[in-house]
Symmetry: D2
Amino acid sequence: MHIGLIGLGRMGNNMRARLEKNDIEVTGYDTNPEVSDVATLADLVAALPAPRTVWVMVPAGEITDNVIRDLEPLLEKGDLVIDGGNSRFTEDFTHAELLAPKGIDFMDAGVSGGIWGLENGYGLMVGGSKEQVERVMPVFDALRPEGPREEGFVHVGDVGAGHYAKMVHNGIEYALMQAYAEGYELLDTRKDIIHDVTGTFKAWQRGTVVRSWLLDLLVRALEQDPEFEHIEGFVQDSGEGRWTVEEALNNAVPVPTISASIFARFVSRQTDSPAMKAVAALRNQFGGHAVKAVD
Amino acid sequence: MHIGLIGLGRMGNNMRARLEKNDIEVTGYDTNPEVSDVATLADLVAALPAPRTVWVMVPAGEITDNVIRDLEPLLEKGDLVIDGGNSRFTEDFTHAELLAPKGIDFMDAGVSGGIWGLENGYGLMVGGSKEQVERVMPVFDALRPEGPREEGFVHVGDVGAGHYAKMVHNGIEYALMQAYAEGYELLDTRKDIIHDVTGTFKAWQRGTVVRSWLLDLLVRALEQDPEFEHIEGFVQDSGEGRWTVEEALNNAVPVPTISASIFARFVSRQTDSPAMKAVAALRNQFGGHAVKAVD
Amino acid sequence: MHIGLIGLGRMGNNMRARLEKNDIEVTGYDTNPEVSDVATLADLVAALPAPRTVWVMVPAGEITDNVIRDLEPLLEKGDLVIDGGNSRFTEDFTHAELLAPKGIDFMDAGVSGGIWGLENGYGLMVGGSKEQVERVMPVFDALRPEGPREEGFVHVGDVGAGHYAKMVHNGIEYALMQAYAEGYELLDTRKDIIHDVTGTFKAWQRGTVVRSWLLDLLVRALEQDPEFEHIEGFVQDSGEGRWTVEEALNNAVPVPTISASIFARFVSRQTDSPAMKAVAALRNQFGGHAVKAVD
Amino acid sequence: MHIGLIGLGRMGNNMRARLEKNDIEVTGYDTNPEVSDVATLADLVAALPAPRTVWVMVPAGEITDNVIRDLEPLLEKGDLVIDGGNSRFTEDFTHAELLAPKGIDFMDAGVSGGIWGLENGYGLMVGGSKEQVERVMPVFDALRPEGPREEGFVHVGDVGAGHYAKMVHNGIEYALMQAYAEGYELLDTRKDIIHDVTGTFKAWQRGTVVRSWLLDLLVRALEQDPEFEHIEGFVQDSGEGRWTVEEALNNAVPVPTISASIFARFVSRQTDSPAMKAVAALRNQFGGHAVKAVD
C-alpha cells in the first residue's frame, strides 16, 4: 500500500519510519523542504495511486484545518483524508462535510503512544465508514503495536468517534498522571519516613495494583533526576483535557479527578494567583491576619 | 458579673472591651506584664469571686493546654473554665476530664467575628452543661451581637460541641472565600469584557443571591487595593479547615468544596510543586514535551 | 417612563409589579392571553412610545432567541431591546448583530434576586452603551434595591458583559450553596455531638464570618422542615454554572469549588452511577471484594 | 526457612501457597480450626525454630492489635513479628514499642496484588531494620513477583515506612480507578458516538499512554458484564485512602484527585444526600424552584 503523509515533525517522522518498516510505501510532505519528499501538496497528490489515502499529521486547529481545505480541490471522488492529529471531534464533522460534496471520504484517527510509538507501536482509535476502515487496515496494522489487533486498534464509530475516544483517553491520562504526582509529593514530603522514594516507585512496577506504563516512565524519570532538581513544576495542557471536561459538562457527567488534574496544571503556570490574593485579602479584612506584601 | 480573662492579644483585648462596655467586670491576665491586670495566674484566681469563671483566650494547642493545666491546681469545686480559643473539639474532652476530679466545670466556646467583634459582637457556639450555660449567660449576652439571642448564640450540646460547630463554621468559611475568589479571578482575567471588576462585586451587595458579609469585605478590600497589587497570593490556614475534612473523612461525609479550598491554600504557599514537577517529567518522558528547566 | 415587558411568568410578573410600584408604566406581553396586556408582539410595539424599550424576560436559549428574532422586523431605529433572562453572554453578541443593521440597540441585563426581588429589589448587572444605560436608568432604579445605586446596579461593560457577570455570579452562588450544604451534612451526621443543628445555623446569622443571605434562607428552610424530610436531594442546574466552568477552562482559571458544586448536582440526579459501577467492578476484579448485585 | 503465618483467609491462604511453592516452610494458624495447622498461638510458636518469624495477616485494627498482644508473652528475644496487613503506619510504632522491651523485633510489610498475588507475586514494601530485612529476604523473594528484586520489593525505611508506602499506594490506586471510571461514564453516556465502549478500552491495552494493569482488569470486567448490568455503583473503602488524605492534610500536601475519589465512594453509598437536600431547599427558598418531594 502507498499513502501520503502530511507533517513530518516528531510524530509524523516516527510514524513514517514505522510504516515503512512494515512495508507501507509513504510519500511525505512537510512545509520544511529539507524533510519533504515533494515540493507541493499537488505533487504529493500526483504521486499517489488512486484511490488516494492522505494521512494528515499536523498540529490541531487552524493548521489542520488549512491543510484539509488545501487538499480538497486537489483530491477526487473515492480518495480518503485521515486526520491523525489531536483535533477536537467537532472539527471532524466540519471536515467530513467539506469533503463530501466531491465524494472525498474522511476518517479521524486518535493516535496514542508519543515518542515511544516508533518502537512500541501506536494505540489507534478510528472513526469513519466500515468500508474505508477495511481498505486502509494495512496502514493501521503497520502502525499499531504487535499482538492481537483489538488490543491496539478500535473502530470506535462514525466520523468524529476516533477523536472523541482519544479526547477521553487524554482526559483519563491527565488524571492518572496527577494521581501518581500527588502520591509522589506526599512520599517526597515525608522522606523522614520514606528513605527511598525512587525505590518505592520502582518496587511498584511488578505485582502491585498501581503498575502501569506511566509508572514505568515515572521510575525512569526519577532515575534520571531524583528529586526532579532540573525540572520546574510548570505543566502545559494541549486541549483534550479541557474538551473532556466540557463534554462532561454538556452531558452532566461528573469528572472530579479529570477536572482537578487540569486545574492543577493551570495553577502550575501562575506566578501569583489572583484568587489566592483575594482570599489573603479577605482573611486580612476579617481577622487582621497579616498578608504577605509584594515587594 | 465578674470574670477572669486569660490572653489579652488582638482577640482577648477586644473581647474585654466589649465585656466591660456591657457591664461585665473583667480581670485580665497576660504573660505580657504591660497589658496584664495581675502578676500571676494565682493572683487572677484570687481576684475573682467564687464560683469563679475563667475565660481562656490564648492560641490553640500547647499554649491553651498549658494554661488549663496551670489553672487546675488553683481553682476549686464549682469554678468554671471556658476555652474560647480555636481548640480542636477533642481537646475539650481532655480538659473536661482533667478538671472534673476536683469538681471544676469546663465549657468550650467557639467565637466568630474576628477584629469586627468588638463593634458588631461575636457569634458564639457553646458546649457544656445547661446549668453553667445559664449561669454565665450574662457574659454571652455581653459578647454576642445585638438582636435576638438565638441569632448570635447557641448552646450546641455537651462539652466539645461548641468547638465542633466552630470547626465546621470555619470549614464552610474557607469554601465561601474560595468561591468568591474563583469568581474574582475569572472576572479579573476577562477585563476585556468586565470593565469594572470592583464595581461588579459592589453591585452584588444588595438584592443578589450572593450577598454576604464576606462579599462586603471583599468590596472593602478591592476599594483599598484594586488589582490586589500589594498582596501576595499566599494564604495560611489555621487548623479548623483541616480538622473539618478529617472529621468528614471519619464520618464518610463528602466535602469536595471545603477540601478544595484547603488544597488551594496549600498550593498558594509552595514556590514550586513537587507534584507538578512529576507531571512535567512524565509528559517529557512519553511525549518528548519540553520541560521548563530550573535555572 | 413606559416600557414593554415580554414574559409574565414568575420573574416577569414580579418585575412588572415592582416597576409599576415605582412609577414605570409597563405594557406586558405573554403567550398566555390571560395575563397578557396585548394580543400580539405587534400590538405591544404599537403601544410603546418611540424610542421604544422592550425588556425580554423569557427562558434563555431558543425561546429568547425566537422572541428577539420576532421583534426585529417590528422595531425601528433608536429602539432598544433588553435581554433580562439568563442567556449565555455569547448569545448577546448574536442578538446585537441581528438588530444592528436596522439601528436597533441591544442591552443585556443579568438579574439576581429570585422571588424575593419584588420585595427586596433585584441586583442588576448591565452590558451595553453608556447612552442607552443612562436613558433607561429610571427602569434600573425602579428594579434595583433601595440604598446606594452602586450597591445594587452596575454597568459592567459593553454588550455581553452583563450576562457574563451574572454567569460568574451564579457560578459563585453554586459553590456558596455547596459549602453550606457540606457543613450541614457534617453537623447533621454528628447529631450525637450537635444537639441543635438548626439552632447552630440560626446562631450564625449575626456576628459570624459566614453570615449571608443564603444562610438566612437555609435557616428559614430548616425551620420549615428540620431534617429536610420532605425534600429529595435531587438538584437541577440551569446552565450558568456549567458556562462558568467552560469559561474558566477557556481562560485557564482554576475553579475547583465551582466545578465541584456542579458535579455534586450531576451526581444528585443519578439513580445509579456508571462510574461507580466501574470502580466496584475493578475492586471486585483485583481484590475479590464483593459487589452489591443489582436485584 | 520456616515461618509462622497467622490468618489463613483469602490473602493468607494464597500467600501460604506461594510461599510453599517457593520452598518456604509454613506453619499456619487461624481461629478457624478447619484450616489451621495448630490449635493455639502457643502451639504455633512452639512449632517454629528460633529465632522465630511470625507473619501476621489478619484484618487491620483491633484484630491485628489483639494478635500481636497475644504473641508478645509467647515470643522471646530475637524473634520477629511481621505485620503484613493493611494497618495504619502509626499502629506500627505502637507494636514495635510493645515488643521492644523483650527484645522482640517488629517489621511492617505493605502487600499489594490482591487475589492475583498467588499467580503473579505480591508487590512488597517493607519497614524495619536492615538486619532483619536481610534475614527474612528468602520470604520476601518467595512472595514477590519474578523479575528483578527491586521491581517488586523495597525496603522503604524504618518501622512504619512499609505501611506508609502501602497507604500512599492505595491512595493513588483510588484515584487511578476513579480516573478510568470517569472516562468510562463519559464514553458510556455518548454511545451515540462511541459504538463500542468495551472495544475502546480493549484497544487501549497496548501502545497507549493509559495502559495499565487496572485497565486490563476493567476490560476483563467489561467483557464479563458489558454495561455493568449486574453491579451496583456502591463502593466501599478500606481506610488507606482516608489515611492518605489525612496525612496529606497533616503535611500540607494538596491531593485533589485522591480526595475526590474517596468522596465519590462516600456519595456512592448514600441513598439520599443530606447536603443535596440542603441545596435543593436553598434553591426552592430563593428561586421558588420546585423540589422533588419525598413520597
